[in-house]
Amino acid sequence: MVKTNVNIGSLKLKNPVMTASGTFGYGTEYSDFIDLSKLGGIIVKGTTLAPREGNPYPRMAETPSGMLNAVGLQNKGVDYFVENIYPQIKDLDTAVVVNVSGSTIEDYVAVAEKINALDKIPAIELNISCPNVKEGGMAFGTSPRSIEKVVKAVRQAYNKTLIVKLSPNVTDITEMARAAEAEGADSLSLINTLLGMAIDAERRRPILSTVTGGLSGACVKPVALRMVWQVSKAVKLPLIGLGGIMNATDAIEFLLAGATAIQIGTANFIDPQISVKVAEGIEEYLSRQGCHSVQEIIGGLVL
């Protein structure tokens, strides 16, 4: 028997596979296809203080081996989540993590406080890296000063596992990682989407209503992998790697680069069973490599 469990701060995962925010709904959308209890965890949709309608359609453009999205954090707000969604997902036999988004520090703190009160939510993922909202969002994640401020404020309001999700749209991601670590983050997840753009040449117009959007899917993997590797050298915190993971081999590459756990996003759209297949694939790899525990390959890249 291979041991697949990992810890992210005090958050215990039965295996390193989680699903990425905004790509897996509230988990229940996938329950026809997989047994959710086979996942290490689920990161639910970005949740904000007030309800948000998101950006106008078109919000999606397919690109070579990837896609751009500009959903813009459409959600019904944290109070709706607490009253209507939490009761439906609180007994899922997997770690349910809420992705907390906002436009001001006060917003982030208010949402974190409300989620802190929910017994069955062991962690939050602070989304300071969304490229699809005009104010706030990514702006918080692109300077060490603002990362310090928001992480510090949320840390005071939230006493369970605090994961900070980093933006790749920066010159030096290790600076951002150190800032979050310094202010008390328990873990870092990376990467969020890369800012991109698509044009319809015939119509001479942008495809997305917002002109630019966030790139995800297979095409971003090399960038994500490089960033996980760099950050793993720069901080001591456990990392959650994501960006372009399409199969178990991709996931193992992130573990070798230094991630303790991984998330699967866009790949869920192509194969709604991929998360469970990746969890099984990691286990197979470990047995094949003669490992007793997944810990043996985390950061195990041979240079």
């Binding site: 790509t23 919000r59 070579p64 759209f269």
Partner: protein, 258 residues
């Protein structure tokens, strides 16, 4: 209704015209097709085509219960549909289905029902017409296309019921767009179903509003997941942005801001 991810084995790939094919397929594991409603769709995996990274949404054209076959009518418009149209008998295609809500089947058998289709938008109307007839209704079709050659599966529609036709070049039926057909001035319908290009559906919705007829349209917003998880496919409705893949693709025009 439970959604499934399943490998289908292609039983036939029939050329309909030079731009469209009719694919027939059956579950590769021999299982019985689930109950599907007219207007529902499938999400098809396109393998070996890097330009088609995401699945492709395609309407359920018909379900042949006796042969346990699912029919899909596909028009080749880009890399994904071109690749799908190349499949051969015995090939495996992975699909997710049945997705979406489907059209309303009215209880009142006295109602006069008109099914309006344009181009490849006729696809879901074959199953809809069949089911309406089975339920005791007398559906009437109004099908539009650019030319006679673009009228897809016309013979199959004629087997079900009366068919009115318009073509833009007058090569079949009346000349013009579906909304210009004389049947619309001669007869009053109680319910109109419509599927086709956006501008056509908007024109039909405008007509339905003018004559105060109930009308359902099937939207084709760009999709990523097809199961209500990503919020990419939203339509701005009277109750805000809703997912076309989950709350649609069929909408009563009263809900739309057209």
């Amino acid at each position: 209704m439970k959604k499934s991810l399943i490998d289908m084995s292609v039983t036939a790939n029939l050329s309909v015209n030079n731009r469209s094919v009719l694919l027939k397929m059956t579950p590769a594991d021999g299982s019985v097709l689930p109950e599907c409603k007219p207007g529902q769709f499938v999400e098809m995996l396109v393998e070996g085509e890097p330009k088609a990274f995401l699945r492709r949404p395609i309407s359920i054209n018909y379900v042949d219960v006796e042969k346990n076959e699912l029919w899909l009518l596909i028009q080749k418009v880009g890399a994904g549909t071109l690749k799908l149209a190349e499949v051969k008998e015995g090939d495996i295609i992975n699909i997710i289905y049945p997705l979406g809500n489907g059209f309303t089947i009215p209880n009142n058998k006295e109602q006069k029902l008109l099914l309006v289709g344009g181009g490849v938008g006729v696809a879901p109307l074959l199953m809809l017409g069949t089911e309406l007839k089975k339920a005791g209704h007398t559906p009437v079709f109004l099908l539009g296309a650019r030319t006679k050659d673009d009228l897809l599966l016309l013979d199959k529609f004629k087997e079900i019921s009366e068919v009115y036709v318009t073509t833009e070049d007058a090569s079949e039926g009346e000349k013009g767009f579906v909304t210009q057909h004389s049947v619309l001035t001669k007869e009053r319908f109680d319910f109109i179903y419509c599927c086709g290009p956006g501008p056509m559906m908007k024109a039909v919705a405008q007509y339905a509003n003018k004559v105060a007829t109930e009308c359902e349209v099937s939207l084709e917003n760009k999709m990523a997941c097809g199961i209500g998880a990503c919020l990419c496919c939203v339509e701005d409705t009277t109750n805000g942005n809703v997912c076309v893949c989950k709350e649609g693709p069929v909408f009563n025009i009263k809900r739309l801001k057209w």
